[in-house]
Symmetry: C2
Subunit: 292 residues, 2 copies
């Protein structure tokens, strides 16, 4: 029986050590703001997916570690900017004050910019000669996923949708862009650095698309039914903002059934892999069972 | 006699065509905001320097074009974010309303994010097999120059300095980070894609550091003596904000002498190059003679 908790703990330690090492020990306002948000104890689900995908195609975690760190930096930058007064205006994140509350708005904008930029710096630092082509490919994978045809377009649609009512198709498209694209890129970049073949990457892409969707459905469910203490942030905020969510569009029970269905599809797409994909299988189940 | 105006016109057309091609013809709010700022008719001095450096080491303009476009995207993103209400709160830029005035604050933050991200996407799109290692190196050069130890730290210091009085050393350090780092990276990334040798890159680095410094000194001079119509933005703003500038720290006449001195140093560092570095020589003179 695969022990997901032990796996997540080990990978989280590995990722946090790598991120801490990249940020170094220097002080100063901008690095402090970056550290505040990056080291705030997120779930690290994206970098873990990246490493697990690399392992599923037979490579080691260390092959994927630079991409894993870059992905967490991109994810954290997007949270800092989404939390800004001009966007969601959130005061708490990961159980701590958001970056612009702990520092100030200008510093938060620049700390986000700096984390996004640093993600690409990390990808460019190649220690091993052999990975140059793969690293450049991952620069492209992450830039496309995070860019104006991916995550940023998703955030634009999310902002535009406030106060309006989305149908299921528009809701799915918005989330596929806003959160799905980077989750997909986490998996495919891990598989790319691990030198997976085209068929493996195709199956992992299907896995990641279903995981990303399930992740959002459960996020919406937790925003209604979650425990704010466990989650480190307020619940019920979607309802206050009159946001369209899976529970509002499909109903709560149907949303839970839907999440289970898409996780089954994610698991099915792993059928071509051996036991080295067990972490990916366990993460799929964790996505809908999590409480935070 | 080298005709700089013809050279700048030709390179500007080449850069604008490439940038326009990269943005495509799609509509939508985020791409419109990116286009608004990117195609607002800047001087394109950084991408021209990138191409000219590539030519100086014997390569063609097309080798450097992806980096040139990426650099202009990074420069434009930094202007969009610097202009935001939380930072300099500027309403006009390049003769047009700033991005947050023409659109809104959230869109401007995201358009800046999108241009920064797209810069790295462009660098990753390799058509020619041979340039993979150089492209990845340029990802690193630009990320370091634009990041928290470069341009972003410069902006942090610029914000922190408002209302205080900087000495010459602090002023130089601030500008070396805020504008110098990306100008240096423009030249070295052009030379890298053009496959310049270590000695060539060393000399071009000295050139670029002096050019960057001279560029800032004349910017400060133009903020006092420039014609707002020619410049497409207000003048006298540094004085209103009580910013430390070269004229306030060194005096106006001494600033003009200083600008000429460092341009001489820039020209000297080009002594090892043949006539293919004529554009770089002409740009050096242009930097202190320009009126906008």
């Amino acid at each position: 029986m695969f022990d997901l908790n032990a796996y997540l703990t080990a990978k989280n330690r590995q990722i946090n050590e790598a991120l801490g090492g990249l940020l170094g020990n220097t002080s100063g306002r901008i690095i402090s703001a970056m550290r505040h948000s990056l080291m705030a104890g997120g779930k690290r689900i994206r970098p873990v997916l990246c490493i697990a995908a690399s392992e599923a195609v037979g490579a080691g975690a260390s092959d994927a570690l630079p991409a894993a760190c870059a992905i967490e930096m991109i994810h954290t930058y997007s949270l800092i900017h989404d939390d800004l007064p001009a966007m969601d205006d959130d005061a708490m994140r990961r159980g701590k004050p958001t970056c612009h509350v702990a520092f100030d708005e200008a510093t938060a904008i620049l700390a986000g910019d700096a984390l996004l930029t640093m993600a690409f710096e990390v990808l460019s630092s190649v220690e091993t000669e052999g990975q140059i082509a793969e690293r450049l490919a991952v620069v492209g994978i992450l830039a496309r996923a995070a860019g104006y045809q991916g995550m940023i377009e998703g955030q634009m649609r999310d902002i535009a949708a406030e106060g309006t009512s989305l149908d299921l198709k528009a809701l799915r498209e918005m989330h596929a862009l806003k959160t799905g694209a980077l989750i997909e890129a986490s998996v495919t970049s891990g598989a790319t650095l691990g030198r997976g073949n085209a068929d493996q990457i195709r199956h992992l892409r299907i896995y990641s698309q279903n995981i990303g969707l399930a992740f959002q459905v459960t996020d919406d469910i937790l925003n209604v039914e979650g425990d704010p203490e466990l989650m480190g942030k307020a619940v019920g905020t979607d309802s206050v903002r009159e946001k369209s969510t899976y529970p509002t569009v499909m109903g709560m029970e149907q949303s839970k059934i839907f999440a289970k269905e898409i996780i089954s599809r994610a698991l099915q797409s792993l059928d071509i892999f051996d036991s080295r994909s067990d972490p990916l299988r366990a993460i799929a189940n964790y996505v809908i069972e999590r409480r935070r």
